[in-house]
């Protein structure tokens, strides 16, 4: 059964907290990974790999460059989840 936006956000926030050391309460849909959450390019790769495993989706490098906000990532995962 497909996950809701809220469920995806909660799981993604946990990943960002673990990988980047950002408080998960800070991880909101309108936050920019690089601008607001200090997630640099290497950290973004770690987030993406962890998200692929967690949600069972493939997020190719071409798609990653379009994921500038948390909302972009949640939307991508929601649309492509198995």
């Amino acid at each position: 059964m497909a996950l809701t936006q809220e469920e995806i956000l909660a799981d993604l926030a946990e990943i960002v907290e673990e990988v980047a050391g950002v408080d998960k309460e800070e991880v909101q849909l309108d936050k920019s990974f690089t601008g607001d959450l200090d997630v640099d390019s290497l950290t973004m790769v770690e987030v993406v790999v962890a998200a692929e495993e967690k949600f069972g989706v493939k997020i190719p490098d071409d798609a990653v460059k379009d994921l500038s906000t948390v909302g972009d990532a949640v939307g991508y995962i929601q649309k492509n989840q198995a």
Partner: protein, 414 residues
């Protein structure tokens, strides 16, 4: 001609098998404790050597989860020891003059557990599972770089590599960095985190490790007639070195002066010590000359003495050759009997021990000597610490590494 800058130690930090900081490390040394333990992990079951000297306090007790993820274990140790040394020296936060702060922190092997764990992930799950931080974690300059980032060091961040001489070599190069005027303050030392089945198997197969699996605490016994190899340890030592004038200007507490450095290379064999101790003797002579010390000034030696049959004797012979009869008045300590052999970290924690010995006027003991090798005719401090004389005295710290690297550091009391 201007007088050469003198270099002093104003801070120490140590993450060791005897304690998680310099104070508990020192207390452990004076108490004559062993840090060696059985390895209870599943991977150890089939190894020829199933014990080692792990750090007393896991880095996760000090570091944030995100730091634990991003730093190889060797860099974790170095960062913790560097923070301790920095605070101990009376500094807080980033350095006020970044262009005058240097770092000289090496590792013998580098991020070996990161490399091997990443390879395991590659084999098990494919290339996507190899983390994007694998390279910055495994590179042997990673501990130095993280220490530099922490305190904003911009005068140069270097990572000397010379196997088991690494930590001492780093201290020696840091002294030269300050003498040459490139920096006023340098964080110097070494680190190692190689307790993993592959390095253990490799060292065991070169007949370097003690295989006394039934009695780990007793296995490291430098100068004992039945010594049979070293005990692998892990950890880091970091010292804050500073030009004497910089330290005086800010009223810093000074532990000791780093008065001289002796570097030589055996140019004999990739792993075996040169049997006459020629290179070791020359390094001793160079260190004394560089420090302007006579043999009679030297009252303490922290020996390299790893508990191998050949190496321990070669060191003692070289020491007697250079110091002559004055060698008999030197209180000699082989602290690896307690903390094991930290490879690239060892010269650094032994420098911390040597500096604290001068500061507290106590030579730590050598434990586990049941029967002294009859060829060791010098004064080995055994089982209990020994008081060192008052007045201005000097202490030496020997370190030697595979590849034929010899480093002798000469410290003078203040």
């Amino acid at each position: 001609m201007t007088a050469r800058k003198s270099v002093v130690v104003t801070g120490v930090g140590a993450t060791t098998p005897l304690g998680g900081d310099a104070t508990s490390f020192w207390d452990g040394l004076l108490a004559g404790r062993s840090g060696a333990r059985n390895l209870t992990e599943d991977w150890a079951a089939d190894l020829p050597v199933r014990f080692a000297a792990r750090v007393a306090v896991e880095p996760s007790e000090h570091l944030k989860p995100v730091e634990m993820r991003r730093l190889d274990r060797s860099a974790q140790f170095a960062l913790i020891a560097a923070r301790e040394a920095w605070k101990d020296a009376g500094f807080e936060g980033k350095f006020a003059e970044p262009g005058r702060l240097g770092v000289m922190v090496g590792s013998g092997i580098g991020g070996v557990t990161t490399l091997l764990n990443a390879y395991d992930a590659l084999l098990a799950k494919g290339p996507r599972a190899v983390g994007p931080r694998t390279v910055p974690m495994l590179m042997p300059n990673s501990p130095a770089a993280y220490v530099g980032l922490e305190f904003d060091a911009r005068a140069g961040v270097h990572a000397p590599v010379s196997a088991c001489a690494t930590g001492a070599e780093a201290v020696g190069h840091a002294v030269e960095m300050i003498r040459s005027g490139r920096a006023d303050v340098v964080l110097a030392g070494g680190t190692e985190a190689a307790i993993h089945p592959l390095p253990i198997a490799a060292f065991a197969n070169m007949m370097a490790l003690s295989k006394d699996n039934d009695d780990p605490e007793h296995a490291s016994r430098p100068f004992d007639v039945a010594r049979n190899g070293f005990v692998l340890g892990e950890g880091s030592g970091i010292l804050v070195l500073e030009s004497a004038e910089h330290a005086a200007a800010r009223g810093a507490r000074v532990y000791a002066e780093v008065a001289g450095v002796g570097f030589t290379a055996d140019s004999h064999d990739i792993a075996q010590p040169e049997p006459t101790g020629r290179g070791v003797a020359e390094a001793l002579a160079f260190a004394l000359a560089d420090a302007d010390l006579t043999p009679a000034d030297v009252r303490h030696l922290n020996a390299h003495a790893t508990s191998t049959p050949l190496g321990d004797l070669a060191e003692i012979k070289a020491f007697r050759k250079i110091l002559g009869d004055d060698a008999e008045d030197v209180a000699i300590s082989a602290t690896k009997s307690m903390h094991g052999h930290l490879l690239g970290g060892t010269g650094a924690i032994e420098s911390v021990a040597t500096v604290l010995a001068l500061y507290h006027r106590q030579a730590p003991p050598t434990i586990n000597i049941d029967e002294l090798d009859p060829e060791v005719t010098l004064d080995i401090v055994r089982d209990k610490p020994r008081a060192l004389p008052e007045g201005q005295i000097a202490a030496l710290n020997d370190s030697f590494g595979f590849g034929g690297h010899n480093v002798v550091l000469a410290f003078r009391s203040v």
